[in-house]
């Protein structure tokens, strides 16, 4: 079991309120991702759940039990740190065995569990090495191994992949997803990377300045962003926003169109916006065009890689009328 509930959790460091008031319900076995801009309180929230920081007020329940004041050692959660935080003076084997030793399990049981975890994570041939003799990816696996052996109620990951290079990151992402499918244990995963968020999560929590902007499945967030912040944050490249008269036509304070929701033509079409290509980024599969559109400013458009555009080309953009997002003056979705 591993359900996690936060009720009106508030956290201040001295006078600075980092998390004003958060309530969340994370179900057993769910993979939840916290995303948000840097400094929005993702790590803080995770550390509150871990028990590495106190809440200023509010309650944290694990499996329905109030754990607000329990020390981290008693919460039965496992955490994987961005820096891996391996014990440098211990071999890989001892690193993985450490939580079991702390739980005072008999030696045979420890050995058996360590061997099992090592096999699962392809670490068997490194068990006697020190962490310093491992690559970044291997270290990350050891950190995960150390987390899984104790069969925690939930795993907490704080940007675990951000120190890895791009290719390795994709691999580890898949491995963690697979691990989740295999273990079916609750996981909370903090990241900056929206690809990680979209691909791994069952549900995503979008945080901004310590507030939950939206909590929902990845596609929900993409299709039905609750507000302008979420709309701008989820999706890559970012959604384009237009205010003023054009928005008023749609009976909104501002409207948003995703780069992939335009039809691009070289000749004017009814309802199209006229623009000039400023930069064309060709990725092969796609091309991102940065187009200067009169008073709307710079907009990003995504097209397939077939047609080539260059700086100075005149283009006409027609937004897909069924996929225009409308927001009121407070940024709330209409």
């Amino acid at each position: 079991m591993g359900s996690i509930s936060l009720e009106h959790v508030n956290k201040s460091f001295g006078d600075v309120q980092v998390i004003p008031d958060i309530s969340l319900d994370i179900k057993d076995g769910e993979f939840v991702v916290f995303v948000g801009p840097s400094g929005c309180g993702k790590s803080t929230l995770l550390r509150l759940i871990a028990g590495l920081e106190d809440t200023s007020s509010g309650t944290i329940l694990l499996d329905g039990v109030d754990m607000t004041d329990a020390p981290p050692a008693r919460r039965g959660l496992a955490m994987v740190f961005q820096s891996y935080a391996l014990y440098p003076h211990m071999s890989v084997r001892d690193n993985i065995a450490f939580p079991l030793k702390m739980a005072k399990l008999p030696k045979e049981v420890i050995d058996q569990k360590v061997d099992y975890a090592a096999r699962t994570l392809n670490l068997s041939s490194y068990l006697d090495r020190r962490p310093r003799a491992l690559s970044g990816g291997q270290r990350q696996r050891v950190a995960i191994g150390r987390a899984i052996v104790r069969e925690p109620k939930a795993f907490l990951f704080d940007e675990p992949l951000s120190n890895l290079d791009a290719a390795l990151r994709v691999n580890m992402r898949l491995e963690i997803t697979e691990l989740h499918q295999q273990l079916k244990t609750t996981m909370i995963y903090v990241t900056h990377d929206q690809v990680e968020a979209m691909t791994m999560a069952d549900r995503i929590v979008v945080l901004n300045a310590g507030n939950v902007e939206q909590f929902g499945s990845p596609l929900d967030l993409y299709k039905k962003p609750a507000n302008r912040f979420v709309a701008g944050f989820i999706g890559s490249p970012r959604m384009n926003f237009v205010d003023g008269a054009e928005a008023a036509k749609y009976d909104a304070h501002s409207i948003g169109v995703r780069p992939e929701h335009f039809v691009l033509t070289r000749i004017p079409a009814p309802g199209s916006w006229e623009g000039v290509v400023s930069v064309a980024e060709q990725l092969g599969s796609d091309t991102f065009l940065h187009v200067q559109v009169g008073e709307f400013g710079l907009m990003t458009i995504r097209t397939d890689g077939e047609e080539t555009f260059s700086h100075g080309d005149d283009v006409y953009l027609t937004p897909d009328a069924t996929r225009i997002y409308r927001f009121d003056a407070d940024g709330k979705a209409l």
Partner: protein, 290 residues
């Protein structure tokens, strides 16, 4: 920041150290201050009661106090001058590309590890003794009359011994600071056309200023309390010629058994040290975060 629990635990973990040091700092000091206002002599148990400022007047008014104060300043100042200048010179020399740097460092640092009474005795007997000391032999070889250093220049002799002990410390710290001056910084200066003397004044000295300050301040703490070197060589004499404040307190309090007067001297020593400490804390405190 951590949890309240961790912070509470942290206080508990600090408690023994804090309590022990608090007692160590307060109890004896309060007693010293108390005694300094009492008539209290171990020789004359009849003499009791509140003494007012009498002990202070007795200690400070005595010519031996002025002499001890002057001696203390001469001792601290003399040793500081020798060690800072000598230390800078030796550090610069050891920082040059030379053969055997490792062994040289070991040779140079060695005197610091010699306990004070040993240092004092080997200088007193092996070097400064007019009959069989090394300097005596040298003078005789040059056809000069050997000097009885401790009789004629007692304070100077002690300064020499103490300087020998502390020169390695100054050298080692200055050398460490010097070696942390990056090669790039020097090369940049060389590229800018600075010659050796300019490099010394404009690049090396400013970089060393902090290390020199620290050498001065830390040595001062220890030098104010010089004791064993005096105890095993001159015994403070002849007369009070080589008595510093620390030794004067010992003489008055322990040797003459005048607890009241000795304590008054102790309080004066604490006040002097505090004046010095005030500057030390400011300097070290500023460097704490660096």
């Amino acid at each position: 920041m951590a949890t309240q629990q961790t912070n509470t635990l942290a206080r508990v973990m600090m408690a023994p150290a804090v309590i022990v040091l608090l007692i160590w700092m307060i109890v004896p000091l309060v007693m010293t201050i108390w005694f300094s206002f009492q008539n209290y002599s171990l020789i004359n148990p009849m003499m009791t009661g509140f003494a007012g400022w009498a002990n202070y007047i007795y200690v400070i008014g005595d010519p031996s106090f002025t002499q001890a104060l002057v001696n203390t300043l001469l001792l601290v100042g003399g040793v500081l001058i020798i060690t800072v200048i000598g230390g800078t010179f030796i550090a610069l020399l050891l920082d040059q590309p030379i053969w055997g740097q490792g062994i040289l460092r070991i040779l140079v640092i060695s005197p610091f590890f010699v306990m004070p009474p040993v240092a004092a005795l080997i200088w007193k007997n092996g070097f400064l003794h007019p009959g069989y000391g090394m300097f005596g032999h040298l003078f005789k070889m040059l056809g000069l009359q050997p000097v009885d250093w401790f009789a004629q220049y007692p304070l100077f002799s002690i300064i020499v011994i103490v300087a020998w002990q502390w020169l390695p410390f100054a050298t080692l710290i200055l050398l460490t600071a010097l070696q942390s001056l990056s090669e790039e910084q020097r090369e940049a200066a060389e590229m800018d056309g600075a010659n050796a003397i300019n490099r010394f004044w404009y690049i090396i000295m400013p970089h060393m200023a902090r290390a020199i300050t620290i050498v001065i301040l830390i040595q001062t703490i220890f030098l104010l309390g010089i004791f064993a070197e005096i105890r095993v060589t001159t015994g403070g004499g002849p007369g009070y010629a080589s008595t510093n404040i620390a030794f004067l307190v010992f003489r008055t309090g322990i040797l003459s058994n005048d607890i009241g007067a000795g304590s008054a001297g102790g309080v004066v020593a604490v006040i002097i040290a505090n004046i010095v400490a005030f500057f030390l804390m400011r300097a070290v405190g500023k460097n704490l975060d660096a």
